[in-house]
Subunit: 317 residues, 2 copies
C-alpha cells in the first residue's frame, strides 16, 4: 500500500510543495510566495493554494494520497499540527495548521518542525536508511538538528528535542543568538562563519574568498567560503577545518550522552565535502570516550536541495 | 503479581545484596567481600554466596521471586548479562555474569551498569515516580548518569548511553581522566572537587573544611566539604556554588538536546542539599533555551545509602 505523499516546506519567504512517490522522487512541484507579512490566515491560504496546484492538475485520486506532510519553522505541537511562534512570521502566535489543512483536503496531515522533518527525510529516503539511530545536523543560518532513536524521531517531553546548535562547547565562548555563551551555533552558524571569514580575509586579501565575493566583504557567505575551499584556497580550507573541529567537539558530547554513532550532516555549507567532513570526523573521534570510537560514522545528507519537500513528505510516507 | 526482588550491588571491594519488596523496602541484606583480585570466577562465587545468604534463610518460595537484578561497574551487554572490562576488577575481560546466576538459581536475571540501575531505581522507587522522562546524575568519584526516556532506560545503539560526566563545557578546560579537556567530571568529580577545596583552603586556613579534616589537607573529601557547607562555612559554600554552576552548564546542554526537564541528582555530595541544589537550578535555568525554562525541575535522589541494592532490585521489579 505505498502511496503518494504531499510535502510542504514552509519558509519565511516561499512555500515549496511537491508530489512525492514512495521512492522519494518528486513527481511535480510548485513554489508559492508565503507573504508572511499578511498574517497567518493568508499564509494558510497560500499553503492551501500550493497543495491545490499539485492535486488539481494530477490524475491521482484521494485514496492514492498517503497524506500531507508539512515542515514548519518554530516549535510544533503534534496535537492538531499546531505551529507556535515561528521565527520570521510576524503576528503568528499559535496556529492549528494541521487542522486547517485536514479540513480543506480531508487527508491525513502531519506537521513537524523543519529540522525534525529533515531528519525523518534522511531516515526514510536518504543517508539514514539502514540506521536505526542517528544524529541529524543541519548547518544553515542556525544550526538545527533531529534525533532518530530506535527508528523514530525523538521529540522529548514537550517536543523541543534536537537543539544541536545549543550545545555549549565553551561556557566562556562567544555570545550566541540565544543569549548563552559558546554554543555550537556561535561557532558554526552562517553568521559567525561569515564573520570569521571576513576577519581572516582582511588579514589575507589574496584569498579566493574575496575575489569570489567581487572584492566586497559584505557579500561573503558560506556558499562562497565553500566554493573557495573547493578551489583549494588556504583561508577557506582553514575556516572549514576550524568549523569541523568546533562542530566535532559538540557532537562528541552527543555521542557520549546517547551512544549513537552515526551522524548525518546537511545544509548549505555541508556541500563543501571532504574539507569539512574530514575535520568533523577527526574531531568527533578525538573527543568521544574510547569505547565510542568504534563504528563512528559521519555522513553527508543525501536529500540536497529538495530536503525541505522530501522531509515534509517523509512525515506521511 | 507483585514479587520479591533480589538486588545485588557489585562493587570493587564489597558485594551488597538485599531482599526487596515491591514497595522498595529492604527486608533483609548482606555484605560479602568481592575479593576482586582473585579473578572473575571467585567474584561470581562471592555473588552466588551473597544471594544464597538471602534466599536460604528466608521463607519465600522460588515462585515468590521476581528475579535477581545486578548493578555492575563497567559496560554491560544485556545479552547474557555480560559484563565487559569493569574498572577495578583485575583480570575481568568479558564475563557472562547473568548466565552464571541464572544457571545457579533458575531465576530471571537482569544485569545492567550501576548508573543505569540507579536511574531505574529512582524511576520505580524514588524521585522519578510519576516522571516519564528524566535525567539521572550520580555524583561520586566519577560523574555517572542514566537517561529515562518514555519510562524506560535509554541505552543507545551499543548500550553506553548516559555518560553525563563526559559532556564538554569548555574544550580548553582542565584535563579529564578520559583524556579530553573540560568534561563536566573534570569540574565536579570527587577528585577535582577535592583539589579545588585544597587550593582554596590553603589560601584561607580558617575554613571549617580544614578543621573537619583534622588540619590535614590530604583528608579533605566531598563529605567533609558538604559537612562544612552545612555548618555555614563560606569556602565550602563557595565550592558548592561553583560545582552547581559547572554542572548546570552541562545539564543545560542535555535539556536543550533532549527536551527533558526533570533532573534527579544523587551520590555523596548531593547530600549537601540546598547549597548545591540552588546553584544547579539557577545555572540550568540560565543556560537553557527560553522555551525549556518552563517546568524545569532539579530534584534530589531519594534512595540514598541503599541506592545500589534498590537500583539493582528495580531492574527486575
Amino acid at each position: 500500500m505505498k502511496k503518494i505523499a504531499l510535502g510542504v516546506d514552509l519558509g519565511g519567504t516561499a512555500i515549496k510543495a511537491g508530489l512525492v512517490n514512495p521512492q522519494g522522487k518528486i513527481l511535480r512541484d510548485t513554489t508559492v510566495p508565503a507573504e508572511a507579512n499578511q498574517g497567518p490566515t493568508h499564509v494558510i491560504k497560500q499553503i492551501i493554494k500550493s497543495v491545490h496546484q499539485l492535486i488539481d492538475g494530477s490524475s491521482y485520486k484521494k485514496r492514492d494520497y498517503a497524506g500531507i506532510g508539512v515542515g514548519s519553522p518554530g516549535s510544533v505541537d503534534l496535537d492538531g499540527g499546531t505551529v507556535k511562534y515561528p521565527p520570521n512570521f510576524p503576528g503568528w502566535t499559535v496556529v492549528r495548521l494541521g487542522d486547517a489543512l485536514h479540513k480543506e483536503f480531508g487527508l491525513h496531515v502531519e506537521v513537524d518542525n523543519d529540522a525534525n522533518a529533515a531528519a525523518v527525510g534522511e531516515a526514510k529516503l536518504g543517508a539514514g536508511i539502514g540506521h536505526k539511530d542517528f544524529i541529524m545536523v543541519t548547518l544553515g543560518t542556525g544550526v538545527g538538528g533531529g534525533l532518530i532513536l530506535n527508528g523514530k524521531i525523538f521529540r522529548g517531553t514537550f517536543g523541543g528535542a534536537g537543539e544541536l546548535g545549543h550545545i555549549t562547547i565553551d561556557y566562556n565562548g562567544p555570545l550566541c543568538n540565544c543569549g548563552n555563551h559558546g554554543c555550537v551555533e556561535a561557532y558554526v552558524g552562517a553568521k559567525y562563519l561569515t564573520q570569521r571569514a571576513i576577519e581572516k580575509v582582511k588579514r589575507n586579501r589574496r584569498s579566493k574568498i574575496l575575489s569570489l565575493a567581487g572584492n566586497d566583504t559584505r557579500r561573503i557567505d558560506p556558499k562562497i567560503i565553500s566554493l573557495a575551499a573547493r578551489a583549494g584556497d588556504a583561508t577557506a580550507l582553514d575556516i572549514l577545518a576550524e568549523t569541523g573541529r568546533y562542530l566535532g567537539i559538540g557532537l562528541a558530547t552527543v555521542v557520549n550522552l546517547l551512544d549513537v554513532r552515526v551522524i548525518i550532516i546537511g545544509g548549505g555549507i555541508a556541500r563543501a565535502g571532504k574539507p569539512l567532513f574530514n575535520p568533523i570526523k577527526e574531531s568527533v573521534r578525538r573527543h568521544v570516550l574510547t569505547p565510542m570510537k568504534d563504528g563512528l560514522e559521519v555522513l553527508p545528507a543525501k536529500l540536497g536541495n529538495s530536503a525541505g519537500i522530501l522531509g515534509a513528505a517523509a512525515l506521511v510516507l
